[in-house]
Amino acid sequence: MDRDRDRASEGRRLLSGWGRTAPTAAAVRCPESRTELEQALAAAGPRGVIGRGLGRSYGDAAQNGGGDVAVSSRLDRILSVNLEAGLVTVEAGVSLDQLMRAVAPLGYWPPVSPGTRHVTVGGAIASDVHGKGHHRDGTFGTHVPSIDLVAPGPGPLTITPEGSPDEFWATTGGMGLTGLIHRATLELLPIETSSVRVDSERTPDLDATLRVMSERDRDYRYSVAWIDCLARGSALGRSIVEFGEHARLDELPAGRRSRARALRFAPRDSLPAPPWVPSGLLNRATVAAFNELWYRKAPARREGHIVAAAQFFHPLDAVDGWNRIYGRRGFLQYQFVLPDGEEATLRKIIEELVNHRCASFLAVLKRFGPANPGPLSFPRPGWTLALDLPVSFSGVARLLDETDELVATAGGRVYLAKDSRLRPELLEVMYPELPRWRKVRERLDPDRRLQSDLLRRLPALADPTQAPARPARAGRQP
C-alpha cells in the first residue's frame, strides 16, 4: 500500500460504491492492527464509523457521510495456511484475488467466489456473499470457522458458529454494522487444477431456462444462466446456461498436466478502461446488438469445455474500472431472490423489465440452495436475478419501486450489498428476522458507533418503523 498517499488522505474524501451514485464525504482511516481498530471505534464522533474493503458493493453500504470510514487496505496479510486441514487465516483486508494467487498453486480455492475477485474477506463476510455454487456450497459465511471481530461494546471477540452463533450470524451479512472485522479463518476447497470444465446449453425461452437449471444443477458444483434481457415475446428469458466443475488433472490436455502448470493462477493484470469513455456508449442499440451476437455465437450445447478459472468466475475483472462506461451519473444493480414456486412472479418481473426496454447487458439468473441462519443473509432457496441498469434510464425509479412490491409480496427480498434505492418501508417485510438481528446489534454496539449511509437510507435497520409497512399509495407516483 502506498502509505504516503494514505496518510495524506486522512482528511475527508468522497466515497461511493461500485455504482458511483450518491457519493458522500468521510474521514478515511486505515487501521493496521487490532489496537488501531479499537482506536478507530473509540475515536468515532457522533456520525460514527463503518468498515470498508474494496468498495465493490454497488450502493452506500461502505460509506458514512460526515463520519469515519475504516478502510482495511493495511490489513492485508495472509497469516497462516494449514495445508492438512485446508484452512487459511487472513486479515480482513486480504482480497480474494490475493488469496487465489496464494493458494491456487498449493491446490486450494476459496469455496465461494462472487462475480469479481476484487473483494476483501471482510466485505465477503459482511455481505455474506454467494457465488455460482450456492445451490451446493451455500454462502461465504458457511465456510468461515471463526472471525476476530472488534465490536464497540464488548471489544475484541473471537466469534464462531458453534460458540457464539448469535454474534457470528449477525456479523455474516450484517453489512459492517456489528463491528470491524479484523481477521478470519476460512475453509479452502482442494482443487487439482485452476481450470474449470464447463458444460453449457442455449435455451430458447424462460421455461426452458428454469427447467434446465432445475434439472441439471444438482449434477454440478457451479451453475448460472445469462439471460438476454432484450429478447421479447416467445424468446423471453432465452439464456445461455453454464455448468461448471473444477477440472480434474486428467481432464486437461496432455501437455498441461504437470502439477505446477495445472495449478497456475496468474490472471493478467486487468486492462484499464479509458477514464472518459463516452457515456452514450451503452444504449439500447449497442446492447441489443451485443446480446444478439453473444446469443447466436453460443453453441446449442457444449460439453467439457476447459476454461481458466478467472474466465469462468470473474469475466468482468478482465476490464478494470468497467463501471465507468455507464457515465457520470453511474448505474445500479438490482438483485432479488424469489422463493421456489414463485416462477410466475419471476416471469412477470422479467416481462416488465423487458417491456420497459431498459438497456441492460445480461442479467444473471441462478437457483439458490438452502439458506443459512444469518438474519440478514440474502440467499433463500429459489431464483435470484441480478441486472445492471443505468440510472439515467428514465422511469427506472418507478419501475423498480413496483418490482420491489412484487418481490416483497412473493416473500422475496433484494440484496443489500447491491442495493442503492430500495423502498425503505419494505425492508422489514423482506427481512422478517430483522428484530432478532437488531437485538444482537444492540448488544455488540450499544452506543451505535457503527453507522453508514445504508443505515441512514434504510432506518429500519436500526429501529422498527413506526408507520405501518406499505402505505397504500407507495410506488405509484402520479
Binding site: R12, L14, G19, T21, A22, P23, T24, A25, A26, R47, G59, D60, N64, G65, G66, G67, R328, R329, G330, L332, V391, V396, A397, L400, D401, S420, R421, R423, P424, D453, R456, R457, P459, P471, R473, A474, Q477
Partner: protein, 254 residues
Amino acid sequence: MRDALGAVGSVLVLGGSSEIGAAIAGELARPRSAVVILAGRDDSRMGAAAETVRAVGAGRVETMAFDADDPGSHEQVMADAAGRAGQDIDVVVIAFGLLGDQCADEAGGPGAVRLATTNYVGAVSAGLAAARLLKKQGHGAIVALSSVAGERVRRANFIYGSSKAGMDGFFQGLGDSMAGTGVHVMVVRPGFVRTKMTEGLPDAPMATTPDAVARATVKGLQNGRQMVWVPAQLRLVFAVFRHLPRPIWRRVPA
C-alpha cells in the same frame, strides 16, 4: 438520505410559504414520502403550503419560524430544523425573496434596503449556515432560487435584479467552495412564474408555473447540474440578451 436515483428523505424550505418552494418540496418528497420542514414567517400561509405538500405525497410536514432578515438566528434555525427532521437534511431550498415595487422604492422609503437585505444579505447568511450543516453531514444539496432578472440587470427592475445577481453569484461561488465535500449547490433561474409574488402582473413571455420549476429542479438535482433555467429556452434567450447594447437593453420593459 438521498438514494441512487435522487429520491430524498427530507427537505427544508427556507421561506416556507413560497409557492415555488412548496412545489419543489412536494416534487422531491413524493417518491419516498419524505419529511418536509417549512421554515418561514407567516404561520397561516405556511399552513396552506403544508397542505399542498402533504397532498402531493410528502410524509411528515412541519412548520417552524425563520426570518431571513435576522441573520443572527440562522445557525440556530438550521440546528432546530435538523432536530425536527430527525435525520439528515438532504435538500435545503432557499425560497424566500421579495419582488418589491421598483417605482416606489426608487422614490424613497425603506423598501429598497429591505429588499436588498432579505434577498441578498439573508441569502448569504442562510446559505452559509445551510452549507455548514450539510458539509458536516458530508452530503446534501442547496437549491437557490435566483432569477433570470439577475443574469443581466434591467433598468425596469434593477433593485430586485441586482439583489438576485448578488445572490446568484454568491451561490455559484459557494458551490465551487463545496467541491469535494459531498455538498451540491444548484442555482435555479426561473423566468416569470405565476405565484402570489407576481399576482396582478401581466404574464411575461415564456411564463411558467411553480410545478414546472419543481420538475426542472428535481431533474437538475438528479443530473448534478449547477445551474437550471426554467423554461430551459431562457438560457438561449439570455445568451443573446447578454450582448444587447446598453441603449437597447435599457428600454426592455418589466
